[in-house]
């Protein structure tokens, strides 16, 4: 069963095999949670959206047909829920990059997760600064570019799948991706040398 494709697992769950669904959840939970977390920028909201996404799968299992990839369907649901959550979250305070990931006050922040590559103290400081700069640049991306960037980099979907998820032509997806990458490249221009060093 572990070697089965997502689609066959989903079909099995549609026929009543709960174990197949559990395997699907285990297989996609991490990537989905990361995508949602980067999208909504809030851990609690990301948990809720992730849970809701899988519940939508349960509800829609009867209607599932093997016409598209399972991941496309999964991320379509997730992306729509993220858009809704982002709309609701606009009225809230923006998430801090230094905020702890967990509930505990002493847990690591996103910045702490950036590896230093065994660099020196200066390099560590520059690396942190680079990470902050890059995150700011990603946050500053327009929504349509940012979601494509996240779907490609975090969810690891191909361009044609992203096109299906978003509902626009593949060339449009590529174009937006190119714009996103160029903006990020400009943001990293100051730290070019450092980036090379990190590489």
């Amino acid at each position: 069963m572990r070697d089965d494709s997502d689609e066959s697992l989903m079909l099995r769950y549609r026929d009543g095999d709960v174990r197949a669904f559990e395997l699907l959840v285990t297989r996609h939970r991490k990537a989905l949670f990361n995508f949602i977390l980067r999208f909504v920028r809030d851990t609690a909201a990301a948990e809720d959206v992730t849970q809701e996404t899988f519940l939508r799968l349960v509800k829609g299992a009867d209607a599932y047909e093997r016409q598209a990839k399972f991941t496309t369907w999964l991320y379509t649901i997730a992306r729509n829920l993220c858009v809704d959550a982002a709309r609701r979250g606009k009225h809230r305070k923006a998430a801090s990059l230094d905020a702890p990931l967990g509930d505990e006050d002493g847990s690591a922040s996103l910045l702490d997760l950036v590896p230093d590559g065994a660099a020196g103290v200066d390099r560590q400081a520059q690396s942190r600064e680079l990470a902050v700069r890059l995150r700011q640049a990603i946050e500053a991306l327009p929504d349509e570019q940012r979601e494509i960037f996240l779907l490609r980099e975090v969810a690891d979907l191909q361009f044609n799948e992203i096109a299906n998820v978003i509902g626009c032509p593949e060339n449009t997806v590529k174009s937006r991706m190119r714009y996103a990458l160029e903006k990020l490249r400009e943001a990293l221009e100051e730290y070019r040398d450092l980036a090379r060093a990190v590489q």
Binding site: K30, V114, R178, R185, L188
Partner: protein, 514 residues
């Protein structure tokens, strides 16, 4: 140079796909051949690669939080397990109804209500007649008797459904139970000898009164009431019927008293035409091969009810009334004699019009006259039948039915009275028609058009009669005499069937619905 090369070949468009590894082998080879020649593509591939690497380091994969991996996961799996696989589409709607309490309640309501409505519309839900007074029973029986006296049709008469009286139910139960019944004599309190001892048996007052009245009429004793009412030493007790049967088989006195056990029980139930108590040596009623004296009702027991309620008729027809001979030897009464032929009116010197009337009657003999029974429903049916006959030109039958309805103090609508007038006119009974028309005019309950129409017919009929009288005066006088004769004959049973007292009248009217 390089840009020119790129633009012409279109390979520069493949930079992004190349960076993300989405090119197939052929296109990848093409782009790699192009890449050394295009500085811009080289620059983009390098910069995009750096951005991707930096982004991956900045956005490392985060493990799902503890709640998501624990409680939320368990909750999700529970929800997934709760889901039932989709089943057939065809039965989904009935399944929804069954599974939903409100829907199932609504469905039950619709089903029960529909069943009631259907039965109501078919007349099966009519409430059985309540216990009528003795007077009303007697009047109804008289009417039934009068109806039965009419000439019997050659073919089977249309059975008019009549609701059975309440008393019939326990009577039928007793008839079915048969062996469980135990009757000895008509004492209010009497003793039964059984192997277990003697039982003091008493009957309810009402049953006792009815039975006593019957017995007083016939000089015979009545049977006791239902076994449920048997009291042993002042307390109600279940009677051991087997013992009683065994004892009863030996006891000729008991056997001889079972002529109409079910008829007496319940204060007037069915008499099935005789009980072969002596032959079988058992208590209780058994359907006798001898038919009941009442020919018309479909149910023999029902006929027995009528026979029971018509003491006058019993005197006239011994075979009919004797089936309810309490205390008499059942074997002697069981083979009820066939009912004597109904007294035919004397028609020896019948005038020609009367002969016509008789001919018309015999002509429609195959469609017999409906016999209004002792309840309002039958009257309604008879009324409808009379209207139908009046509108289809079968005037003799219609007149007869109307007259019977009038005798039974049934309300006849003005329209029906107009029909009656027409029928009388067409039957040559102009005087009576004129009289009834005058009554209608006086009451002013019908439209002028109806009266004019009836009058017109009456005048035309009179003209025809006058013309005929001019041609053959001797032969034409007869019809007027004849019509009177017919009228008298139609009213003949009236003295015997005197209109019931007011209480009966009220009773019958109360059950009549218009």
């Amino acid at each position: 140079m390089s840009e020119t090369t790129t633009n012409t070949s279109g390979a520069c468009e493949l930079v992004l796909d190349y960076v993300y590894g989405e090119l197939d082998e052929a296109r990848k080879r093409t782009f790699e051949e192009h890449l050394p020649t295009c500085a811009r593509c080289q620059q983009e591939v390098a910069s995009f690669g750096r951005v991707r690497t930096a982004a991956k380091r900045v956005m490392p994969a985060v493990e799902p939080t503890a709640p998501l991996a624990g409680a939320l996961h368990a909750q999700l799996m529970h929800a997934a397990a709760q889901r039932k696989p989709k089943r057939g589409v065809l039965l989904s709607f009935p399944r929804k109804i069954v599974e939903h309490p409100a829907l199932s309640a609504a469905a039950m309501f619709v089903l029960v209500g529909g069943a009631i409505a259907i039965n109501w519309s078919r007349g099966k839900m009519a409430m059985p007649a309540t216990t009528q007074t003795a007077v009303s029973d007697e009047a109804a029986a008289k009417h039934a008797e009068a109806t039965l006296d009419t000439p019997k049709p050659t073919e089977a008469a249309p059975v008019i459904p009549e609701p059975k009286a309440k008393e019939e139910a326990p009577a039928n139960e007793l008839a079915k139970a048969g062996d469980k019944s135990q009757l000895a004599d008509d004492k209010a309190s009497y003793e039964l000898q059984t192997p277990k001892g003697s039982f003091a048996v008493s009957r309810p007052t009402a049953h006792r009164a009815v039975a006593t009245a019957e017995a007083a009429k016939k000089g015979k004793v009545a049977a006791p009431a239902s076994m449920k009412n048997i009291a042993v030493d002042g307390k109600k007790a279940k009677y051991d019927t087997n013992d009683a049967l065994a004892q009863g088989a030996k006891d000729q006195d008991l056997n001889s008293g079972l002529g109409s056990v079910n008829g007496a029980a319940g204060g007037g139930g069915a008499v099935t035409g005789g009980v072969v108590g002596g032959e079988t040596g058992r208590f209780g009623a058994k359907s006798s091969p001898a038919k009941s004296s009442a020919p018309a009702p479909a149910d023999e027991a029902e006929g027995a009810v009528l026979a029971e309620k018509a003491p006058a008729r019993k005197e006239q027809k011994p075979g009919a009334g004797q089936t309810r001979a309490y205390g008499s030897n059942a074997t002697t009464t069981a083979p009820a004699a066939p009912p004597p032929p109904a007294p035919q009116p004397v028609a020896a010197a019948a005038p020609s019009a009367e002969r016509d009337y008789r001919a018309a009657q015999s002509q429609h003999a195959q469609a017999p006259v409906a016999k209004p029974s002792a309840n309002a429903r039958s009257y309604d049916l008879a009324r409808k039948q009379a209207d139908e006959w009046a509108t289809t030109g079968r005037c003799a039958e219609a007149i007869k039915s109307y007259e019977e309805l009038q005798k039974a103090n049934q309300y006849i609508t003005p329209t029906e009275r107009v029909y009656w007038v027409r029928c009388l006119t067409q039957s040559g009974r102009q005087e009576e028609a004129q009289q009834r028309l005058d009554e209608l005019k006086a009451e002013k309950k019908v439209t002028n058009a109806q009266i004019e129409d009836a009058e017109k017919q009456l005048v035309e009929k009179r003209r025809e009669a006058n013309k005929k009288s001019k041609k053959a005066p001797a032969a034409d006088r007869a019809p007027s005499v004849t019509s009177e004769t017919v009228q008298q004959r139609a009213q003949e049973p009236a003295p015997a069937q005197a209109s019931p007292p007011d209480s009966t009248h009220t009773k019958v009217k109360s059950t009549t619905s218009y």
